[in-house]
């Protein structure tokens, strides 16, 4: 599982945004704002990663229960899939 090429994640003004670069900007007209967890997950997904590994890294980074972490990951991936951002 991996986020498509052609996006730039950037910390700016105390938050995180993702913008399309190059040819991607022609198809994807807009931008994404991410909260802290979203930014963490996005960075992991810039390289190919399994859902199990993603869960392991989220649990290692944040003090959350496995149930909540799974819920967060599923919701995040569902959003990325809806927006066609994930392969």
């Amino acid at each position: 599982m991996k986020i498509k090429e052609g996006f730039l994640l950037r910390e700016i003004a105390g938050g995180t945004v993702v913008v399309p670069v190059g040819k991607t900007s022609v198809d994807f007209n807009g931008m994404i704002t991410l909260n802290e967890t979203g930014a963490f997950l996005w960075k992991q997904l810039e390289n190919d990663i399994s859902e199990e590994e993603l869960l392991r890294r989220l649990l290692a980074e944040y003090n959350v229960t496995e149930d909540l972490a799974k819920k967060d990951i599923n919701a995040f991936i569902a959003k990325l899939k809806d927006a066609g951002l994930i392969d």
């Binding site: 730039l8 938050g15 945004v17 190059g22 900007s25």
Partner: protein
């Protein structure tokens, strides 16, 4: 070809038409500066785009693409455009930004009618250039000024950026830098920026939002909107 100084940047503008050459004339650079880059529009590209945009004449089409080329290149030299109507008032530049057709120019004309044309000058009515000198943001006139083409070759330190929305009742509020980021990105939009150029643009937006106040003005088309904005955004010194 005309060598121009636009907001302190020396560039060569290649145009086939009087339209652009006349607009560039106030910006002609007679000094010894080396141009940073050239902007031109290829013959076949111009022909193709003129056919595609049959409501526009070739000189206007060329002007639009020269503007677009200029703004894309200038990012890597430390400047960017903000889609806005920009005024000079009491020594400072105020930029009123919004999507097309919101009424940016309408609003700055209200300033002129309330406070007088001698006190409110239009630096650029559509696409002023933003650049930094010693970390201080300035807005600069450019020969590229959208529909009305109103511009003057002057620059001034930026007093505030105001994002406009149409409303029945006038209301103004200060907005936090991060809330303003999507608005800035929307109104500096360029297609096809590569990663390093987009990074340079976001770097400048980051510095700008940290150094000046940003407001959201919900406004109607009455003079009251300019009076409310002036009272709120112009700091008395």
């Amino acid at each position: 070809m005309l060598k121009c100084n636009i907001g302190g940047f020396c560039v060569n503008i290649h145009s086939r038409f009087d339209f652009t050459n006349n607009l560039c004339r106030p910006y002609i650079d007679n000094g010894n500066s080396e141009p940073l880059f050239d902007v031109r529009v290829g013959e076949s590209f111009l022909k193709k785009e003129t056919e595609k945009n049959s409501h526009l004449t070739p000189d206007i089409v060329e002007h639009i693409f020269l503007a677009s080329a200029f703004y894309k290149k200038i990012i890597n030299f430390g400047g960017f455009l903000l889609h806005s109507s920009c005024i000079l008032y009491k020594g400072k530049a105020y930029l009123f930004s919004a999507p097309s057709q919101t009424g940016k120019s309408t609003h700055t004309r209200l300033w002129q009618s309330v406070f007088g044309k001698d006190y409110v000058k239009i630096i650029n009515d559509d696409m002023p250039l933003v650049r930094f000198t010693d970390g201080i943001p300035f807005a600069c006139g450019t020969p590229f000024a959208g529909g009305t083409n109103i511009n003057i070759n002057i620059s001034a330190p930026i007093g505030a950026v105001v994002f406009l929305e149409r409303a029945q009742q006038n209301q103004i509020e200060r907005i936090q830098p991060f809330s303003a980021i999507p608005l800035f990105i929307e109104q500096t939009k360029h297609f096809n920026l590569d990663i390093s150029t987009y990074t340079a643009l976001l770097d400048m937006i980051d510095v700008l939002t940290a150094s000046i106040p940003i407001y959201r003005l919900r406004c109607n088309k009455n003079e009251d909107s300019a009076i409310l904005a002036e009272k709120t955004i112009v700091t008395q010194e």
